[in-house]
Amino acid sequence: MSQRPQALPESADEIARAVSAGQALAADVLERSLQRIAALDGRVKAFVEVFHDAARHSAQALDAARAGGAELGPLAGVPVAIKDNFVMRDQRTSCGSAILEGFVSPYTASAVERLVSAGAIIVGRTNMDEFAMGSSTEHSCHGPTHNPFDLQRIPGGSSGGSAAAVAARMVPLALGSDTGGSVRQPAALCGVSGLKPTYGRISRFGLVAFASSLDTVSPFACDATDLALCLRVLAGVDTRDATSINAPVPDYLAADAPGIEGLRIGVPTEYFADGLDPEVEARTREALAILEIQGATLVELAMPHTRFAIPTYYLIATAEASSNLARYDGIRYGRRAEHPADDLNEMYTATRHEGFGAEVQRRILLGSFCLRQGYVEEWYQKAQKVRTLIRRDFDAAFSQVDLIASATSPGAAFSLGEKLDDPLAMYMNDILTTPANLAGVPGLSIPCGFTDEDLPVGLQLMGQALDEATLLRTAAVFQEATDYHRREPVL
């Protein structure tokens, strides 16, 4: 029987410090990560490709640079997994879709460039719902990813591969994207920490577009300290993304930052409504009590338009997606289906029919309907106006409180296949996470306990635009007082 490799014991912060100080070699850290992946990923299926050779080459180059006296970056030698919707030069990108079969990128996403410049070692690309459309990582041409805490259950989605890779301690950091909860929800279901920053805080250049007014580059880690470290590397203006924000990037967990004494945390009634699993609600309220003990003040709030977030989100996101995905036509990249020699339209249709999965086709059709002449005012523009009302709910809330708290997901991880035939039931998983995307505010999920079946539960904290520091500080205080984030799955 082969010996199971130990989980990577150090955090990203500890690895980077050790490698920078010459106390550890990036090559050794990487080998432990690769061994862990080799031993476990046959069952978890977090990765769609592991870059063995390229990662080893990068780690050896980093060690050589250190030996030559070079000063290394803040992520020196840290193995990082990348969701398969970020392009990387000379590597494949599939977005979990057959339509991108064989695509090799000619350039690298800004976020990945920043990670590499900071010394991170990119170990591979991770599984996801096709074009990030899903909440379970079951809608992938590569097959589903399994939750490390229970292999018969979903890891959440759409960034389920990245969440599972961190949960299984294959890597200490992973990149995902969060359009309606695609990082926070899988973070909650896999017992790890995930941060969706303010819209525009991290460049989207090189992130394959799903819904451009909602997409955010978002990292996973085991704790708030590593999220803060990663965000500091990723955040900042980028001339290649006109929506990236030109604002200073702070030290998110500065040593002299205050605690959470006197912090006002809003608890909106609408986030604790029917449909919230009783065990999830219990763990969430227990977490709030812990924050209260640490000095925070809880304030009950009303955010009356929350119940409209799901239809608003799905109408806007699918409208944008139907436009963004028009580019997959079998001409410039990806798959082209067999077709009659002189029929251009049939080539388009056959290619898209064969290349897109059922969920993507459903969303393209829904989005096309919203944008159709005669319906655009009634559906798409109506949703955009309700989006304004949801934003105003947040503005009103933040005139009273510093943060807003809720559960991240209405339930713990469900069984593989359980909701595949019911799109609306699947969409309702996003009910607590979509409002932050619609409003553009930052949110994170941190582990806050377990159900009776030992499934992780996540606490969601949402903050004011560009105030990731308060979110991360509060998460760090919570994690100093608890050890839920340290619990590893038994694999």
Binding site: P106, D342, L366
Partner: protein
């Protein structure tokens, strides 16, 4: 709200270059009609005088200087093309005759 016709969605699928002739596609139209029925709750929200939000932030668009930048080399652009010839993407005949 007008009743959403499955037939109308099937026509729309054609415009979106999605196959509509199979039983699976018919189910897609039915599912989308069901979703729209559920999402129709938005029609009851009073949005009189409310401006639409195209983006979550209200900051002004930040533009870069209008200076030409180097595009990707032609061979790299064509590298991913399913079919190409003579430095061009190869497509079925578009113009009759």
């Amino acid at each position: 709200m007008a009743e959403i016709e499955i037939r109308e969605l099937a026509e729309l699928a054609k415009l979106a270059r999605l196959r509509q002739a199979t039983s699976g596609s018919k189910r897609t139209s039915e599912e989308v009609a069901g979703l729209l029925k559920s999402f129709a709750m938005l029609q009851d929200v009073n949005t009189e005088g409310v401006e639409p939000s195209a983006y979550p932030m209200t900051i002004a668009a930040r533009l870069r200087p209008d200076e030409p930048t180097k595009p990707l080399p032609q061979d790299q652009v064509l590298r991913n093309a399913p079919r190409q010839r003579a430095g061009c993407f190869l497509v079925p005949r578009v113009i009759e005759g």
